[in-house]
């Protein structure tokens, strides 16, 4: 009984893939993702980015939070939690979803994996255990935090199917976008990702993920495989028009200030709010907002010029301040200056003309500003039919 006193680790800790990443990293540029060491850049943002859009890339997504909801009432619980109707999803499908508090404010977004009507996994950025427990009150389900049992890698890029074939996983070719399958005992592949390109996420247990990484890495030679960090991925997710929690919206449970929450409608996801499915968290508030109209709108915008607009303020008639850019980059693939931006309604909602962005540029010791016109984009900035083709193309 002479156990030494122990304590939880202080600071960031490694995922099971950190040894692999450490060897590959020349940039030594790390960030903290949910308490884990995660690469911002491994080598060069530029070349990592182009590997996503041209070849194959691997990104460690193990730090994601993962919750398993099982039991006879699993479907009911998940449907009560998220705004979309997961009863419409088939088994072995993955769906993007948002979930709200009772005021209709988004708590987080993520992906719902439907194994069956009694077995779901919810994958998201924030910790969500107590919220799922609260939602499940009175239902017959088990809720398990799998965050540190299930690990994952995201394999993204136009040659990823060729790579999977070389790794003995040709079976992934049958997956349509958002399909998933257990391709080997304990190894799940979903045709999902955060890039808008062809890509897969591979899921296995925390202790098997390094082995899986090595297997993919060994098959990567002919397909230009690179490990990537968050910065390159972030350019792709903006090109794909995906929003990021904490950047494009403030998850309402982490907002200390009032009125910082945003609804799915305000974030542009009214189509993923299925009012006809019965009660779900936030339904009444969202119905009300549907009638009254949104207070804010998050839109995809295209800006003139070449200077990235991150942090730019938005103006109506060059005078009245009406919002700001939440995520802005120069898009190297579409060669457009793109951004996600939040407007105060009715600007960006019913008023879409004569809107301007004031972009701030700091170059070699001098601040400069550029006022450029704003136009709206309804589709993702990056669209390529290779990302949806089934069977997937070789490159």
């Amino acid at each position: 009984m002479n156990q030494l006193p122990t304590a939880v680790p202080i600071g960031v800790i490694p995922t099971p893939l950190q040894t692999r990443l450490e060897d590959l990293s020349t940039a030594k540029s790390w960030t903290n993702w949910a308490g884990f060491i995660s690469p911002l850049v491994l080598d060069t943002v530029e070349f990592e980015y182009f590997a996503i859009r041209n070849q194959s890339t691997l990104f460690d997504i193990s730090p994601m939070h993962k919750y398993r909801v099982t039991g006879p009432d699993a479907l009911r619980v998940v449907n009560r939690m998220v705004t979309r109707d997961v009863s419409r999803m088939r088994d072995n499908r993955v769906g993007y979803a948002l979930w709200c508090d009772e005021e209709g404010m988004v708590i987080d977004d993520g992906t719902v994996f439907r194994f069956s009507d009694s077995d779901f996994r919810i994958c998201c950025q924030e910790t969500m255990h107590s919220w799922i427990l609260d939602t499940a009150w009175g239902f017959d389900v088990d809720i398990v935090d799998e965050s540190h049992q299930v690990a994952g890698v995201s394999l993204q890029g136009p040659t990823t199917f060729s790579l999977l074939s070389d790794a003995g996983l040709t079976v992934a070719g049958a997956l349509k976008p958002f399909d998933m399958a257990e391709v080997e005992p304990g190894l799940w592949i979903s045709r999902t990702g955060f890039t808008g390109d062809l890509g897969y996420e591979l899921w296995t247990s925390w202790d098997k993920i390094a082995e899986l990484w090595d297997r993919l890495w060994a098959a990567g030679d002919h397909w230009g495989l690179r490990a990537i960090g968050y910065e390159a991925l972030n350019i792709c997710r903006i090109e794909a028009g995906f929003i990021a929690a904490g950047i494009d919206f403030q998850p309402v449970h982490t907002a200390m200030r009032l009125h910082r929450g945003r609804s799915p409608i305000e974030l542009g996801f009214e189509k993923l709010v299925h009012f006809d499915k019965g009660h779900f968290n936030g339904r009444r508030a969202l119905l009300k907002q549907k009638d009254a109209g949104p207070r804010h709108v998050l839109r995809k915008i295209d800006l003139a010029g070449f200077k990235p607009a991150d942090g730019a303020l938005l103006y109506y008639k060059k005078k009245k301040e009406v919002g700001h850019v939440t995520s802005g980059v120069w898009s190297p693939t579409t060669k457009r200056n793109i951004a996600l931006a939040e407007f105060k309604a009715p600007y960006g909602y019913s008023i879409t003309d004569d809107l301007w962005a004031e972009i701030y540029v700091f170059e070699e010791g001098v601040w400069d500003k550029r006022l450029v016109p704003v136009t709206f984009e309804d589709k993702p900035f990056f669209i390529n039919d290779r990302s949806r083709a089934t069977p997937p193309r070789p490159f």
Binding site: T26, T44, E46, F47, F50, R53, N54, Q55, P158, T159, S162, D166, D221, H222, W223, G224, G305, F306, W330, P332, T333, T334, K335, R336, P394, F395
Partner: protein, 545 residues
């Protein structure tokens, strides 16, 4: 009688510039026809499959100069264009070493230190000078060159813009600009660097495509011409077009099609039809004729006016200026299908610089001697080459595990000397093979086992380039990029603004300002000029400087 039809504008030649002009005109609502002599489009911006499973960028092979404003206006990514940058490069030495031009700044400093400690910060100052000059030039690329003798408000404006920019440089930089536009790259590099190998590595950009040596005045500008492009704003960076350089032409072609334009391939222009000093249309080699009040030639200035326009329609001084326009072919090319990636004994396996441009030139002296051979009508015994293996980055160019290599070679004469006689006709299968052998001998410095990996090689000489692509003497820039042939002197004095002595006839290729490379600026500038002349100037986006 062949086919006959009427259009608002006809473009002769489906090179990247011709297609660019056509796209802008079609988007402005004109009914546009592009005629092309080959069965494919693209001119020298072309991808072809000559060996089953492989795609070659047969002529131009890397992309940087293509103006981003044009890519954006015409939404070329939507039509399939994807430009992927590549990393650095290297020059290999016979004693088993190399100089690696890393894209990583710190690695480059260490590598330079390894060769010559003093060159490390010399390089910083060299880069500063070059980038400053590039920043000075870039705003002029999408503007007309001012005519200094004209009093038209537009010319005065352009001249004022030039003067303002020049004045803003200050005395020291302006002095540097004049030096840059007139001096040799050899002299310029000698002023900065100590290492022969580093100098040789950088000097290549000063001679590519020209009939000049590294110590010929004017080559410093040629280096700038190769540095003033960018990939996503990174000035001086180069990339591959995914699917080869034909992807650029194909994207332009698709853009044109969407805008309602027509492309007819398989028969080139036989004659530009002129009546009373006005263009009326074109007659094709197959007998078809097409009428249009606007005709733009994407062919070089010599081919346009000396071969396809009746001399009687042209002023004598114009014809004389066109005849003396310098357009000397100096480069050849090998496009090679490889059964595997060759060994590079000098380099660590998987080194990033192997994915960039590779060379085997050792010194400026060696490069100058290579030029001497060319002057005598021979290919260089120690050729300069710019060699890349794009299939390491672009998965579409070769089957998995196999590779495509592009080798740009200089110097190779247009009129090869054999037994005292200089003639393009001297290029035949035998001399072509000897030329290629000479190149392979030198490639062995970097890749000793290269020959055993070769499955197929396309060997191209200036003679071949002229015959296939139509570039006079195989000059890749449609005319030398020397100061006497730039700005308001390009192609000839008095006709720098895309117009010609024939009303309604324009020149839209690289013979016009600002010159060669897959830049599309001449095509876009010419389109703006044409639209202005038909009162539709407001339909062309203006490009902020």
């Amino acid at each position: 009688m062949g086919q006959h039809d009427k259009f608002d504008a006809i473009i002769a030649g489906a090179g990247h510039n011709g297609l660019t002009t056509a796209c802008y005109l079609a988007k402005a609502g004109l009914k546009v026809l592009v005629v092309e002599k080959n069965d494919w489009i693209g001119g020298a911006s072309v991808s072809r499959s000559l060996h089953d499973g492989w795609t070659y960028s047969n002529c131009s092979y890397v992309c940087s100069l293509l103006r981003r404003e044009i890519v954006r206006d015409l939404e070329l990514p939507r039509f399939g264009l994807q430009v992927i940058p590549y990393e650095g490069g290297a020059s290999f030495t016979p004693d088993g070493d190399y100089f690696a031009y890393y894209s990583d700044h710190d690695a480059l400093r260490r590598e330079m230190f390894r060769h010559s400690p003093a060159d490390v910060d010399a390089y910083e100052r060299f880069s500063q000078t070059v980038i400053r000059q590039c920043r000075f030039i870039r705003p002029f690329l999408l503007r007309n060159a001012p005519d200094p003798s004209s009093l038209r408000p537009r010319d005065l404006n352009e001249l004022l813009f030039l003067l303002k920019k020049a004045h803003g440089l200050g005395a020291r930089e302006l002095g540097e600009t004049l030096r840059f536009w007139t001096m040799s790259i050899g002299d310029f590099l000698d002023e900065h660097f100590e290492s022969d190998l580093i100098k040789a590595h950088i000097a290549g950009a000063g001679i590519i495509g020209t009939g000049l040596g590294v110590y010929s005045p004017g080559t410093a500008y040629v280096l700038l011409h190769h540095y003033m492009g960018d990939v996503d704003g990174s000035i001086g960076a180069w990339g591959f077009a995914r699917g080869g350089m034909g992807a650029i032409a194909n994207a332009l072609g698709a853009c044109l099609e969407e805008a309602g334009g027509t492309i007819v391939t398989g028969s080139g222009v036989d004659e530009f039809l002129v009546k009373d000093g006005r263009i009326t249309g074109v007659a094709l080699e197959n007998g078809d004729t097409y009428e249009a009040p606007i005709v733009a030639s994407n062919m070089d200035v010599k081919r346009t006016f000396l071969e396809h326009t009746e001399e009687k329609h042209l002023p004598e001084d114009f014809t004389r200026a066109v005849k003396r326009f310098k357009i000397r072919g100096s480069s050849g090319k090998l496009n090679i299908a490889l059964d595997a990636l060759p060994e590079f004994p000098a380099a660590p396996k998987g080194a990033p610089f192997l994915r960039g441009d590779m060379h085997c030139s050792q010194s400026l002296n060696e490069l100058e001697r290579a030029y001497d051979d060319w002057k005598e009508g021979r290919w260089s015994q120690q050729p300069y080459f710019d060699m890349l293996i794009p299939s390491q980055i672009d998965p579409t160019m070769a089957p998995p595990g196999k590779h495509m290599m592009t080798v740009f070679v200089q110097y190779a004469p247009y009129d090869l000397e054999v037994n005292g006689i200089r003639s393009g006709e001297n290029w035949n299968d035998e001399t072509r093979k000897q030329f290629a052998d000479c190149v392979f001998d030198k490639i062995e410095i970097a890749m000793p086992d290269i020959r055993k990996h070769v499955l197929h090689a396309e060997i191209r000489t200036p003679w071949d380039i002229e015959n296939e692509v139509g570039l006079t003497e195989g000059n890749i820039f449609q005319g030398e990029l020397t100061f006497d042939q730039l700005l308001f002197n390009r192609p000839v004095p008095g006709y720098s603004q895309y117009r010609t002595p024939i009303d309604g006839m324009y020149l839209v290729g690289s013979s016009a300002h600002p010159g060669g490379g897959v830049m599309a600026a001449p095509g876009a500038n010419a389109a703006r000029e044409i639209l202005r002349n038909v009162g539709k100037g407001n339909l062309m986006p203006s490009h902020a400087a």
